[in-house]
Subunit: 418 residues, 2 copies
Amino acid sequence: MLGRSKAVGVGEALGILRSHYTPPEPGREEVSLHEALGRVLAADIISQIPLPEFPRSSMDGYAVFSADTFGASEQIPAYLKLAGEVVMGEAALHPISHGEAIAIPTGGMLPDGADAVVMLEHTQTLDAGELEIIRPVAPGENVVQPGDDIKAGEVAFTRGHMLRPQDLGALAGIGTTRVPVFKRPKLAIINTGSEIVPADRTPRPGQVRDVNSYTLAGLVRLAGAIPVLKGIFRDEYGPIREAVESAISECDAVALTGGSSVGNQDLTAKIINDLGNPGVIVHGVSVKPGKPVIIGVVGGKPVFGLPGHPVAVAVCFNLFLRPLLKEISGEIDPLEHMGISGVRVVEARMARNYSSVPGREDHLGVMLKKGDDELWAYPVLGKSGLIFTLVKAHGTTVIPADRPGIAKGEKVIVRLFD
Amino acid sequence: MLGRSKAVGVGEALGILRSHYTPPEPGREEVSLHEALGRVLAADIISQIPLPEFPRSSMDGYAVFSADTFGASEQIPAYLKLAGEVVMGEAALHPISHGEAIAIPTGGMLPDGADAVVMLEHTQTLDAGELEIIRPVAPGENVVQPGDDIKAGEVAFTRGHMLRPQDLGALAGIGTTRVPVFKRPKLAIINTGSEIVPADRTPRPGQVRDVNSYTLAGLVRLAGAIPVLKGIFRDEYGPIREAVESAISECDAVALTGGSSVGNQDLTAKIINDLGNPGVIVHGVSVKPGKPVIIGVVGGKPVFGLPGHPVAVAVCFNLFLRPLLKEISGEIDPLEHMGISGVRVVEARMARNYSSVPGREDHLGVMLKKGDDELWAYPVLGKSGLIFTLVKAHGTTVIPADRPGIAKGEKVIVRLFD
């Protein structure tokens, strides 16, 4: 598929990619719970134990036979014999007998025979080692039963679940301190452009420092994936081709960021096509900024040719690479399936008229300001290639391809930067 | 301030903490840009260079004296002599003379003398090394001037700014590859309760595995801070007091999580008071779950006594510790100053009637389900102390202290878990 094809819409581009590429089953590894935050489970986790493992009191009070309290009231209290206390972290020394009460703290293990707990507030201890009870308790009252939290043999978590802080706690609770997780996706970053020098070097006239490796690596990390920096390459066929081949064998996907000159883009497309099958599948997407984006599949892995424009790199990452990396990660996000965005959005009113190029989905950086209890979105404009426009913006808003622009005062949804 | 004081509201509790504690200036360290994602700048960053450093073409085309193109049209084109080409990453070999045009790629450095670039599309090369131009260009057209992105001496970033991916790119662009950042806040986690054993140990009857260290450490990490696990302690004065003292000298804040029995809470309060000045400042907050939370200040550092209930730990973290850690971090969040929440929220309709305890701010875990194009929030209920309620929930919704509950069908804001 050599040569320029027509630019396609964003949705169409994703569809074409999907028809040529299906993420393989991710690799697995085992990690300790302390390293498992944000990782994706590679297998269902079945609880081997019930939780709690024993009946626990949910109150400070007295463990009793509930039947001994039936009918108790302030007028006619029930009287039970105090028969010791439950010590936290230990089983009761002996079972309870009818007519007895044993002091128990919240979380304490019920003595054998006891089936309920009377709250401290509804009791009074009397001198003779006797307990006065002024309210009845039903069987099971103020008791958490074994398995109330989770039962032995129950599925605690399913494959594809991303582990949140509370999930780590729950896994610890059932004694699962090592978990099988999918390996994190690796994205290779190949920076091309004869004008680019490493950021710590002083550029000569005509040269510029590497910007995109840093932005892209940060975006990859925030997406829970691993950036693999393959380095900076001059616009020469051989070394870039070698870097792409090595990246494909080593990583799950590849992103080349390049100068936005026609020559540079042609070189990227040629290399992807030469490595082929099918090679370039999308050449140009109707999105601003980012139109010249190239999408290819080589050796069963996606290869992206992103423009060199830093803003376009960020927009293309969010449109294509972020969802792709999430898919490769093996995560099944229940919220996403409900259409809940994985990013923060706010509603704001446009502070100015903004006219957009028709036929292209326009991703506009905006700065937010608060005024009159409302948020206002100010377009952050700048010539193509500027870096600090993205720094000044708090997020982006999308003007759909079929709209000529947004009028001042119109409401827009702003996707906040991570 | 010994003994039990009355439970206070959440806002009041934060106010009391603020009146007894002001975060000190955070420590500083220097990190490389590759490690700087999410870190907070400890100083303003001033650009030492203009960006770009030289006039760059923003188009593929020809560098010209703009005056040579004035009046050019399809009917009466301008003709210029082709005088070579600009190579990417290099300065032009010689300056341009009147009547000349030099080919230039996007991003290329303008030759001395040239003040504009004619787009490729508006030109045609003729046999005799001549270029035909059919549109005029104004001075500066299609050129990014030195300093258009940022000027030398301009403040690129201010102290307190948290570094996002695009910020790393911008810093690389101005050659700042090491940055001064504030040290991350450290929260010590002290797990108390005679019933608690490490998660990898098999509990004896009456014992339970440590859950809260894992949940809390995960929450601390997501907040960009460092959890320091001080271990598990039986309900005994001496060792816990020593752990708190060591934690205070080592960390920025301390969280004890404990059993929810009265004895355990009293021990925590006593230790905080004995280490004192002022010691316990809040004992009980009108929030559900989490009422018995203790807030103290010892040695100028905040010390929290959180209940042992895992859901309460998470709720108290979000209410008190997350904002505190953010304040300690030195971050100045422009969005927060506009009232934009740092977490994802969605709107949903309550799927059931839910009645709340009046006088307490009720943080209810909810599971979301999609139905009829709308999200429905199902309360995830369970006895106190259950762990998996938090696992089943997608987020929480708050029923204010002055509301008796929420009716089925009413709209609620759900704060999604990170």
